[in-house]
Amino acid sequence: MAQELLWIFISALLINNFTLAYFLGICPFLGVSNKVDTALRLGLANIFVMIITALAAWALNTYVLIYAPYLRLISFIIVIASTVQFVEMAIKKWSPELFRALGIFLPLITTNCAILGLALFATNKGYGLLEGIVYALGAGGGVTLALILMAGIREESRILDIPDAVKGTALSLIVAGILSMAFMGFAGMFSAA
């Protein structure tokens, strides 16, 4: 059991990295990640929302959607968005500190494809509650890792002399391609063991 959970975690974190292998959550990856510090906080907020999503998706799947599977998509998106709003309000009340660190990112993240993707993939794979949470941790960690790597490279590339045509999104995409190639190497990690 423990080994299975570890496998789910590593697989979501490195091998099937949400950003670099599934292209989920590309918008913040290309747009927001300019500073390592911001990227880290955005990543943490992402992990947080993903765990809530995993809980909500599990609850919906177990108690509601067995009666009406065709409502899956609509109910996922509504329940996830409203749950995150409630949690955001709760954090604002109880821990202003945490709210300042994560706050502005929470509503942004809710409409991110990575969140809905997590709920859908976890459902397709038939994960239970514990597996779902581990999967969310791995996927969130993977997104955070990708965001931080990208932000770090961007911070460095600011002092480079880059041709005008390549500046901006084109450069980010090519860098992302190289990062994605590097992450492909992780696929060999477990087949050997």
Partner: protein, 209 residues
């Protein structure tokens, strides 16, 4: 009347090139990169997105006076999610093979910012005719972009186009192009091309004027 038609035409054309959702606005990235490893998958994704965009714009534009301002985003999302569920089931029934290959990415059309963006920016403020023209233009622009990426990736990564081999057996396919990194590279280089053309044009204008 003639003037109206002209502006409608303009609305349609702008999505194809000047405000192309993928190359200029950089919207809807995840389907653009995730499912464009072959031309057929690109086409299926583009068709599904077009369907959802068209009918969501129709409904939002029709209901634009009814939808309360405070809950408009939620309403749009429910409308979009409804059509996505429809298209998901339609594809599963009509073309099960392609549906299987696209997998969860069909459902992820819901969070394609292109669709929500057009509802908020255009359909909610315009008459039905104009909203549909905008949807058609943006949908076609999205389709063109997806197909461009899909064609490049399939030719280089698989040596074929629409599953028909176009090179002899001597061609060694660049496997990397149909894997995730190929998506990033192809879009990156296409954007680079777009930027270079735009830059040259502005420079040429500056010289002549």
């Amino acid at each position: 009347m003639g003037k109206d038609q002209h502006t409608d035409w303009d609305v349609l054309i702008k999505g194809l090139w000047r405000e192309n959702p993928v190359f200029v606005a950089v919207l809807g990235m995840c389907p653009t990169l995730a499912v464009t490893n072959t031309a057929i998958n690109s086409l299926a994704m583009a068709a599904a997105t077009f369907f959802v965009l068209f009918f969501s714009s129709l409904l939002v534009s029709l209901l634009r006076k009814v939808i309360a301002k405070q809950v408009r985003i939620t309403t749009y999302i429910v409308i979009i999610a409804t059509f996505v569920s429809l298209v998901d089931m339609l594809l599963a029934a009509l073309v099960p093979d392609i549906h299987k290959e696209l997998g969860a990415f069909i459902a992820l059309i819901v969070v394609n910012c292109l669709i929500l963006g057009r509802q908020e920016a255009f359909a909610a403020k315009n008459k039905v005719g104009a909203a549909l023209m905008d949807a058609i233009g943006m949908g076609l622009g999205f389709a063109i972009a997806l197909l461009m990426i899909g064609v490049v990736r399939e030719i280089l990564g698989n040596g074929s186009l629409f599953d028909i081999p176009i090179f002899g057996t001597s061609f060694e396919p660049w496997i990397i192009m149909i894997l995730p990194p190929g998506g990033f590279f192809t879009l990156g280089f296409l954007l680079l091309l777009f930027n270079a053309v735009a830059l040259r044009r502005t420079k040429a204008n500056a010289v002549t004027s």
